[in-house]
Symmetry: C2
Subunit: 300 residues, 2 copies
C-alpha cells in the first residue's frame, strides 16, 4: 500500500498534484482548511495545520506512507513577510516528525528559489549558497535544510522541491501573468516593470506533476529545483501573451518600479529534475501560455 | 522591569549565564528538567521543553521581557545525529513564537560553528556561507536563521550566538580537555589525534558571560560568533595542560584517528563580539586552563 497525504491540496500547485499522484498509483488523501465539495477519487480531510496538535492527529488518522507537504501561506504581497512563516515552519516540523515517528517512507516538501543567494544567476542545488533575504525564504530554507538533514540521518527518504517561477490556471489574479492576460483581455493598459529580468517559468501543471514524480522517486534525496531550465525575459514572456490577445489593450514597460533586491537574472539548474527524477514537462511556453489565456478567457 | 528566562540553565554553558545576568540587573528565571536544590537568587521552573505545550505555558507563566535559549541535546557522541535535533528545533520555534506573541523584547539563542561551511578556515558571521554537514548543525542553522529573520521583520530584537570550542568546569568528562586533564591527573597515557588541528578555544565562563552581554545589548542583531579569536593548535593546548600537571602521565599524539570531515583550521572572526557587543573575556588560555585543571583536581 502506498498512501500519500497531500497538504495544501486546494492551493495553486497542490490542487494539480492530485491527478498525477493518482496516475502514479497512489491512494491519495488530501488536506485543506476547506476541502472542495466534490471529492473525486481523493479522500479529503478538513484540517488547519496551524492548530496545535492537528498535524499529529492527521498523521495518526491517515497513516500515510508518503507525504507531499505543499501547505504554506502563499497570499500575494503578504507571504514574503507574514509572521505566519514561523508558524508554518513549526507546523512543518510537527507534521514531518509525526510522519517519521509513524514509520513514513518518503516525504517531499515545497521550497523556493528564494532560499538561494540571488547574486548567483544560475542556482544549482549543491553548489549555490543559500542566503535568503526574506522571512519566507528563511522559513522555507529552515524547513528544507532540516528535513533533508533529518531524512539523511534517520529516514524517511526526503526531498525538497525548490519552486521557481510559474503560471497557469488558478493563479492569483494580481500576479504578473494573470495581470497582463486579464488586462489585455479587458482591453486595458497594463503597467509593468522594465521587463528585462530573465527568469525560469514553468506551467503550474508541470510544477505539480514534477512534485508527484518526485514523491514516487524515493531514491532522489535532498533539494531538487522544480523549473523548466528555459530562460526567458519578462519582456519576451509578455510579448508572447500580447501576440495571443487581440484588441485595444497595451503593456506599458517601465511604468512600474522594479522592486529593490530583484536580481536581473534568476535561473535554475534542472539536471536533477530531468536526469535523476526523469521528469519531462508537458507544456512548453507556447502551449502553456495558451492554456493560461484560455483559462482566464473562460472566466471572462 | 527586565526579566530574563534562561532555558537549559543547568547545562554546561547555561549554568554560568545566571550570575552575569544577575550582575547586569536582570530578574532571572531559569528552566531545566531538574532544577538544582539550591535556587540562589534565581527563580527556577522545572520544565521539559520537548513536551508539547510546555514552551507556551512557560512563557505565559514567566512573562519574560528577555529570552536566553540555551536548551538543546548536548550529549557527547550523540548530539550530532540524535533525532532529538528535530524536536529541539520545533520546541525552539514554539518557545520563540510564544515569547514574541507575548510581547517579548529581546531573544538570544545558542548556535554553533557547525552551521558554517568548514571549507572556510576563518568564519565570519556575514561572509562565510552556512553549509552544515551534520543534523545538529542543520537544526541549529534552521533555528538561528529563521529566528533572526523573524526578529528582523517583526521583532523582538533577536541575536544568535555561534559557539566555537570551549572548556571549563562541568564539561562532559569524555571531551578533549577533561579527558587529557583527568588522564594526566591519574598518571595515565592519554590517546589523542595528531593534534595539528587549529581551533578557537574559550573558557565556558567567558562563553556564558558573552551570552549574558549579548542579551543586554539589544541593538546587536543576528549572528554573533562567541569565541576568543585566538588560534591554538590542539598540540599546543595539550602541551599547556601537560606543563601544569606533574606525574607519570603522558599524551600519545596520533594514537586516535582524526574523525572524517574535521577541518585542519576552524577559527572565528570575533569583531562583532568584541566591538559591537563590547565583550572582553576574563580568562586567557593560561588562567582558563588553570581554572579547569583546578576544578578537575578538586574532584580528584
Amino acid at each position: 500500500m502506498t498512501r500519500v497525504l497531500v497538504t495544501g491540496a486546494t492551493g495553486f500547485i497542490g490542487r494539480q498534484t492530485l491527478a498525477p499522484l493518482r496516475a502514479l498509483g497512489f491512494d491519495v488523501h488530501a488536506t485543506a482548511r476547506t476541502p472542495p465539495a466534490e471529492a473525486g477519487d481523493v479522500v479529503w480531510h478538513a484540517a488547519d495545520l496551524l492548530d496545535a496538535g492537528t498535524p499529529e492527529r492527521l498523521i495518526a488518522k491517515v497513516q500515510p506512507t508518503h507525504l507531499l507537504h505543499m501547505a504554506w501561506n502563499a497570499e500575494p504581497g503578504r507571504y514574503w513577510t507574514t509572521p505566519e512563516n514561523l508558524a508554518w515552519a513549526q507546523a512543518s516540523f510537527a507534521l514531518y516528525r509525526a510522519f517519521t515517528e509513524a514509520g513514513g517512507q518518503r516525504a517531499v516538501g515545497a521550497g523556493t528559489c528564494a532560499e538561494y543567494d540571488w547574486s548567483h544567476s544560475v542556482c544549482g542545488e549543491d553548489v549555490t549558497p543559500l542566503a535568503p533575504t526574506t522571512l519566507y525564504g528563511a522559513a522555507k530554507q529552515a524547513v528544507g535544510t532540516l528535513l533533508c538533514a533529518y531524512g539523511a540521518a534517520h529516514g524517511p527518504s526526503t526531498a525538497w522541491g525548490r519552486v521557481f517561477f510559474l503560471y497557469g490556471p488558478h493563479e492569483h489574479a494580481n500576479r504578473l501573468v494573470p495581470a497582463v492576460v486579464r488586462g489585455l483581455l479587458a482591453g486595458e493598459r497594463v503597467a509593468v516593470t522594465h521587463g528585462r529580468q530573465v527568469r525560469d517559468f514553468m506551467h503550474v501543471a508541470d510544477v505539480a506533476a514534477a512534485f508527484a514524480a518526485l514523491v514516487a522517486r524515493e531514491d532522489v534525496l535532498g533539494p531538487v529545483n522544480v523549473a523548466s531550465g528555459e530562460p526567458i525575459s519578462l519582456r519576451e514572456l509578455i510579448g508572447q501573451i500580447q501576440g495571443r490577445i487581440e484588441g485595444p489593450g497595451a503593456v506599458d514597460f517601465g511604468a512600474r518600479e522594479t522592486p529593490a533586491g530583484e536580481p536581473p537574472v534568476l535561473l535554475a539548474e534542472v539536471r536533477r529534475l530531468r536526469d535523476e527524477v526523469g521528469f519531462t514537462p508537458r507544456f512548453d511556453l507556447t502551449t502553456g501560455l495558451e492554456d493560461a489565456i484560455a483559462w482566464w478567457r473562460a472566466r471572462g
